[in-house]
């Protein structure tokens, strides 16, 4: 008996090690891409191009230790002998690993007559880090940096700071307004009687999966006619329209389950539906409101298509600003990585702080496309 439990226990231990091993491995794969971007965003641009971001961690690598000046009388066009090893100029320039493990590389052209010697040794953490990348991405003023070729580049910054503020101005109302409207509607559908009640709700359900592409062309026509393009109001309304079906559906599911007895006494006291809604329903619905708020906030903040279509340069949000850097300056990794982090920081904080509510909202909304 005891022998059997013991082997069972051992088996459990082994399987637990396997499970945790595999999961740790998957989690590493999941986290490394973001880690790379985070690390890179703190490195100087010339360093980013000189070595991969992983070299900031302790590792064994070649470190330049000294230089050798070649005798000016050497015939650089024939084979060159340095420290007893003979190679052509081209081979020396590519770099030669010497018998003792050091690496010799000819520096520059034939006339420089200079060889750099690198030894292989342990390198600690890279400490040559900076916050300048963040400063340069946030500002809309002129910035200068060194590119991969060693040239100094001067250009206008991408003004991600301004875009960040725009994102806030877009996201907060585009989160609160649809929730408010949806809560009103859900209460109407759940507790009030009016002609067409069932018909209208069926339409809400049908609209759950309609792709928003269907609306972009006509809405853009309307906005052009009303001269609304590029305004905050335009994008709030668009996000409200596209988010409403799910919001109404979720809020209805919640509000319709509020026990009738809770409301009955208020009805008997002669309170108007408006009072009941603001004094009773809203406070009771806080969990559902919070769940959907996080959902909608992340959706609006991370949205690119709607912002691209309806916003102008003056009101552009972080996703469009970041996509613009990708398009125009696809190799400026110091700007791209810091820009990516600026765009991610707020949703990540919201997400990690309120993960529980987010999961709850997601569960309730898993019917949506």
């Amino acid at each position: 008996m005891s022998k059997k439990t013991k082997s069972f226990k051992n088996q459990k231990k082994v399987s637990s090690i396997i499970v945790n091993g595999v999961l740790t491995f998957i989690c590493l794969i999941w986290i490394i891409p973001t880690l790379g971007v985070l690390v890179t965003s703190f490195r100087y641009s010339e360093n980013i191009f000189r070595s991969g971001w992983w070299t900031v961690f302790p590792h064994r690598g070649y470190v330049e230790t000294r230089e050798i000046n070649i005798d000016p009388d050497t015939d650089v066009n024939g084979p060159i002998t340095i420290d007893g090893v003979t190679h052509t100029f081209e081979e020396w320039r590519e770099g030669i690993t010497m018998p003792d493990g050091d690496r010799y590389t000819w520096y520059g052209n034939k006339r420089t007559l200079l060889v750099k010697v690198e030894e292989r040794k342990w390198v600690g953490f890279e400490t040559d880090l900076t916050l300048d990348n963040y400063k340069d991405t946030l500002t809309g003023k002129e910035i200068s940096f060194t590119d991969g070729m060693g040239n100094t580049i001067v250009r206008k910054g991408n003004d991600l700071g301004g875009a960040f503020l725009n994102s806030i101005a877009v996201s907060i109302p585009a989160t609160i307004i649809p929730i408010m409207i949806a809560a009103f509607a859900a209460y109407g559908f759940a507790w009030l009687n009016f002609p067409g009640r069932k018909f209208f709700f069926t339409i809400v359900v049908a609209l759950l999966v309609v792709p928003l592409q269907i609306a972009l062309v006509p809405i853009l026509q309307d906005y052009t006619k009303l001269n609304l393009n590029g305004t905050y109001l335009a994008i709030w309304m668009a996000h409200t329209g596209f988010g409403l079906p799910l919001a109404i559906y979720l809020m209805f599911n919640y509000i319709s389950t509020i026990p009738r007895e809770l409301l009955e006494s208020a009805f008997i006291d002669g309170a108007s539906p408006f009072t009941i809604f603001t004094k009773l329903i809203l406070p009771l619905s806080v969990p559902a409101l919070a769940s959907f708020a996080i959902f909608q906030f992340l959706w609006v903040w991370n949205d690119y298509l709607v912002a691209l279509v309806f916003l102008s340069d003056k009101t552009r949000v972080v996703t469009s600003a970041l996509a613009a850097i990708v398009g125009e300056k696809g190799q400026d990794w110091h700007l791209l990585t810091s820009g990516a982090f600026i765009s991610m920081i707020l949703p990540l904080i919201v997400f990690l702080a309120l993960q529980r509510y987010f999961v709850r909202g997601m569960m309730a909304g898993s019917v949506k496309g």
């Binding site: 101005a169 329209g241 298509l305």
Partner: protein
């Protein structure tokens, strides 16, 4: 007190004429205030912090004010009318917005899809012939199919495997948070993250590969590749991004379904000597089948509408175009509203089965 000069004014306001006067003046003031806010926000050059603050207060406060004032107005009417109209204060705004932004546009897009690029001349089915036969569209259909098949398969199966395994670990929440985290990252942000992984610098003296994938390939003895420019494989490198983003979603939903399986069921199977693999296929999968289908459908629709990743990573070049990107190109790059509308209608038709399924579910639930 008898001769209080204010009394006349008060009685004026309480009289019938006064009430009507107030009923007109209050909405008028509300409207004027909101309109001034709109003009300020549109034309201002003020400090951006201030503008953002005003925008938030104006937007959120404006909507509240509108509800409040309309209700206040309606409650002034005779009782019978109050009962008739009040429900529409609650559902009216939502219905109006849904009609303007989703329901009516569907029909307008349908009409547009039969018109030429200027939306003036009817061209019959020309736009649909383009959308269904053009080489570019066929390529987009093929790629969307790849996204739907492989993206869905890998997101769902990885999510399932992680959910089942994490269920047996003490560190479940740590693992789940890490896998779930990309859900908070925008597709544009994820695009930058993965572009950096795939980046390629080519060969040359002193050039180091700074992209992780190429560095790994070189360390294993291979040569570096421009991963995103090699069709058809680049599609799979893009699909990896979606799997990275969406596995957290499938994992969380499936994990809660797995936790709903009665423990006695699993215990009984273990006592009978079933191994874990058989339990997985014979008990876990059949029990959570409904959730599996829901999750897969969600990801399928998601891959059908996919836009941002392709837009940011390749712009649809090198054989990676997808339907939603072609929609964007047709409308906003080539200015062809007709073709764009036809593509949008095709997207809509593709989700109709799911719509019907949702409606049927809703009817069966008898929530009304």
């Amino acid at each position: 007190m008898q001769n209080n000069p204010f009394k006349g004014i008060i009685s004026l306001f309480t009289s019938a004429i006064g009430r009507i006067f107030v009923s007109i003046i209050v909405p008028l003031i509300t409207f004027l205030v909101l309109w001034q806010g709109f003009i300020f926000l549109r034309d201002t050059e003020a400090n951006q912090f201030l503008v953002v603050l005003v925008a938030i207060v104006w937007g959120v406060g404006g909507v509240m004010l509108l509800y409040y004032v309309t209700n206040w107005l309606i409650e002034k009417l005779p009782k019978e009318w109050v009962n008739r109209l009040q429900p529409f204060i609650f559902v009216g705004p939502a219905l109006a917005i849904l009609a303007w932004f989703l329901a009516i546009p569907t029909f307008r897009t349908l009409i547009l899809s039969f018109q030429d690029q200027t939306s003036r001349v009817f061209v019959g089915f020309d736009n649909y012939i383009f959308a269904l036969t053009d080489r570019i569209m066929l390529e987009a259909f093929r790629n969307n199919l790849l996204w739907m098949i492989f993206g869905t398969f890998f997101s769902v199966s990885l999510g399932l495997i992680i959910a089942v395994m994490a269920d047996r670990s003490r560190f479940e929440n740590v693992y789940k948070t890490i896998i779930f985290m990309p859900m908070a990252i925008s597709f544009v942000g994820a695009g930058v993250i993965w572009k950096f992984i795939y980046t390629y610098r080519g060969e040359g003296a002193g050039i180091a590969e700074i992209g992780l994938l190429n560095a790994i390939v070189i360390a294993l003895g291979g040569t570096s590749q421009p991963w995103l420019q090699q069709p058809p494989w680049n599609n799979f490198f893009l699909i990896v991004i979606m799997v990275w983003l969406q596995t957290g979603y499938t994992m969380v939903i499936l994990s809660s379904a797995i936790k709903g399986i009665p423990a006695e069921l699993l215990e009984a199977a273990r006592v009978d000597g079933s191994n874990e693999l058989r339990i997985f296929f014979n008990i876990i999968i059949p029990t959570i089948k409904g959730t599996l289908i829901t999750v897969s459908t969600t990801i399928l629709i998601f891959s059908l509408k996919l836009f941002d990743i392709v837009r940011v990573m390749t712009g649809g070049n090198y054989g990676t175009n997808v339907i939603a990107n072609e929609f964007y190109l047709q409308r906003f790059t080539y200015g062809n509203a007709g073709r764009a509308s036809a593509i949008a209608i095709i997207l809509l038709i593709a989700v109709v089965p799911v719509m019907i399924y949702n409606l049927r579910q809703f009817r069966e639930r008898k929530a009304f």
